[in-house]
Symmetry: D5
Amino acid sequence: MLFHVEMTVKIPHDSDVNFVNELKAKEKAMSQDLQRSGKWVDIWRIVGKYSNISIFNVESPAELHDILSNLPLFPFMEIEVKSLCKHYSSIKEGQL
Amino acid sequence: MLFHVEMTVKIPHDSDVNFVNELKAKEKAMSQDLQRSGKWVDIWRIVGKYSNISIFNVESPAELHDILSNLPLFPFMEIEVKSLCKHYSSIKEGQL
Amino acid sequence: MLFHVEMTVKIPHDSDVNFVNELKAKEKAMSQDLQRSGKWVDIWRIVGKYSNISIFNVESPAELHDILSNLPLFPFMEIEVKSLCKHYSSIKEGQL
Amino acid sequence: MLFHVEMTVKIPHDSDVNFVNELKAKEKAMSQDLQRSGKWVDIWRIVGKYSNISIFNVESPAELHDILSNLPLFPFMEIEVKSLCKHYSSIKEGQL
Amino acid sequence: MLFHVEMTVKIPHDSDVNFVNELKAKEKAMSQDLQRSGKWVDIWRIVGKYSNISIFNVESPAELHDILSNLPLFPFMEIEVKSLCKHYSSIKEGQL
Amino acid sequence: MLFHVEMTVKIPHDSDVNFVNELKAKEKAMSQDLQRSGKWVDIWRIVGKYSNISIFNVESPAELHDILSNLPLFPFMEIEVKSLCKHYSSIKEGQL
Amino acid sequence: MLFHVEMTVKIPHDSDVNFVNELKAKEKAMSQDLQRSGKWVDIWRIVGKYSNISIFNVESPAELHDILSNLPLFPFMEIEVKSLCKHYSSIKEGQL
Amino acid sequence: MLFHVEMTVKIPHDSDVNFVNELKAKEKAMSQDLQRSGKWVDIWRIVGKYSNISIFNVESPAELHDILSNLPLFPFMEIEVKSLCKHYSSIKEGQL
Amino acid sequence: MLFHVEMTVKIPHDSDVNFVNELKAKEKAMSQDLQRSGKWVDIWRIVGKYSNISIFNVESPAELHDILSNLPLFPFMEIEVKSLCKHYSSIKEGQL
Amino acid sequence: MLFHVEMTVKIPHDSDVNFVNELKAKEKAMSQDLQRSGKWVDIWRIVGKYSNISIFNVESPAELHDILSNLPLFPFMEIEVKSLCKHYSSIKEGQL
């Protein structure tokens, strides 16, 4: 099933630079693993913001929460989740 | 270039049913034409709402406005547009 | 899977009383059928409001949207959906 | 009587890790005691958030405030309380 | 138990004047009956608004909802309910 | 004249515990003095929150500001003031 | 005592023009009477809006509500009232 | 002096089409006259919305209000005005 | 020209007391100089808040920004500016 | 293509003054380079705020994000981006 997820990152300005860089590197690696596995279908940057909009394709809401809450930047993110389903105008077959 | 568009439809309750059905049929046809052309990349229903989230791939902001403002349901929609660009974690090549 | 749904009903004041009563009767019947089937797990009135908070247990987001969008009062409701999963403090077994 | 409670946890990023872990362990223990006693009827995680939605069954509003304000994480939570009553479509007998 | 209720009245401008005056007269009579019974402890006008702030002393949340939803102006009101309990600085004895 | 005041307390988590306890003790003493004098007519806790709703009966807006801005917790409070007057349905005589 | 009042006028588009013009003429006359009496100290238009910001100098909150609720446009206005008092930097003597 | 103005047009769906078209034609003519005169410096469409963002260069706030409140679509617009001044990074000479 | 300015002061709780007192003394002196010059026409305290509402009479928006941004407390203030003009009901001559 | 960008700067009060001044000097230099190149078409200060409104003319959304995210003050700014297109009333030729 598909979920629409908007993540906004807010890292305190006084954080240790090395610590933050390490978090970001781990975040990127984990995100790319999940993209390769087909779980994290899309990720885009919102222009002008330290935010992304992502589409996830998971087995259950629990799996989505498990993925999101294990992201290295999770403690620094505000996350909004919307559940998606097929639109009656969509021409894509067999989706959702 | 990619745009993230959220459309919420609010049709007055006292509208003529035939008029509304005709609008919806035209809207669906136009949406499917744009999907086939590759302009309207994705359209999903938000669960529980008369709203959709769509991804458009257009030549310019002007083209997007031209598409949206010519939708049959445009006078009855609240539309929010977000400009997207490539996320540094994205594994998709050549996109955006 | 479980969803938390908040529905607020706003019927125009100039609606026909018989039409509204018929809608409400159908809504109640459909709600009770869904409760008996185990899909609509809980429904509570929010004190002082023409709103309810409900818990649904469905097979998929698509099934939830199908249920909600077929409710007789759907055109008159504002609906907010939250996806739920098991809380690590919950003592309920095998749920979600 | 039933109350709907939404709790969002916001722990400062510079908190001592051991202190926080101890708080969370105490919170979990207290929550499970209250669940076993029947006071804390349900607790769910909202997908993607460090928030829960809970249903409490208490003797009085004062008892609910007493429970909430004694939770170990209370100083770090934003809490919204809604008073519930029986919905006229509910098929549950003798509840509320 | 005590509840804090804020009611804002919004009557459509094209309503029949006699109908509205009749509703207001019934609303006033019912309010004064409930004040005399001790259920509706206080009612104040918010300066500059067609709103009131009220304190109710009822047996249960269900009783409060029953009172509010039977007010003649209920279909035209937006109502916010807050559950109250004793403040540790209060000098009033035996209250709440 | 009567004022409706909602106070929400937000004390930084890294404040000195003794300092905070001293502030709270002074706040309670001052509140109770003002209650005994008849200036601070009512104070209730909002269930689930570190907030109170209070009714003040003062000689002037200036007196109310003087009272509020001298509360020991004033620097840590967000305060909303609403001016009240007699409601035409109120059965209380000679008030306001 | 002084009050800061912001009034926003929203007249339905289908109102009778003569009726509206009559209301506006009465509103202007009443406003100017109150200005001459010293009750309505200042009235300014907010640039670009059908709104005004006004300062009232009245004997009591009740008098202010009496004035505002008797304005011919009152049923078509959203009104926000703020209670004012002397600022410790103000050089005006004997005011408030 | 420069002002930033955002105008959102909301015309009721049941308006007479000829009346609306006439209003829009007059609006366009007046806007273009003001653009030619140098008062209305810029006007852009916000993509996806029936809104514009405009820059005005006027002699006074009163002149701006006079212009805006005489626009044919003024009764159907929500308008937000921001006062602008020279930014210390701007390389434009003699402006504002 | 007249501007309506609302300033809300938020000084971090861990600021040095002497530093803050010095800022406040300078702020008061500068405010009183500007009041004597006729630039800062009015300043009122909003009851219950560390906020003021002020009326400025300046030569240009640039002059207003220059005044506000040089206030000693400017870095600690949230400021909202509204441009004012003469109301057609105002009896004041030659103003604005 | 044109974008409307509103930037609000929020620098923590405990930041090192020299560090901040250096950031601001770099920000100003980079802004002026971009203005000279024609990318950053306009920049205005919003009166009373540490915010600017800017117009950018760029080749793509990606270029805009690249510019904004490399501004020295980017980590301290809240940025809102709106995509613009030609308004049908605009008299400017060949623009957008």
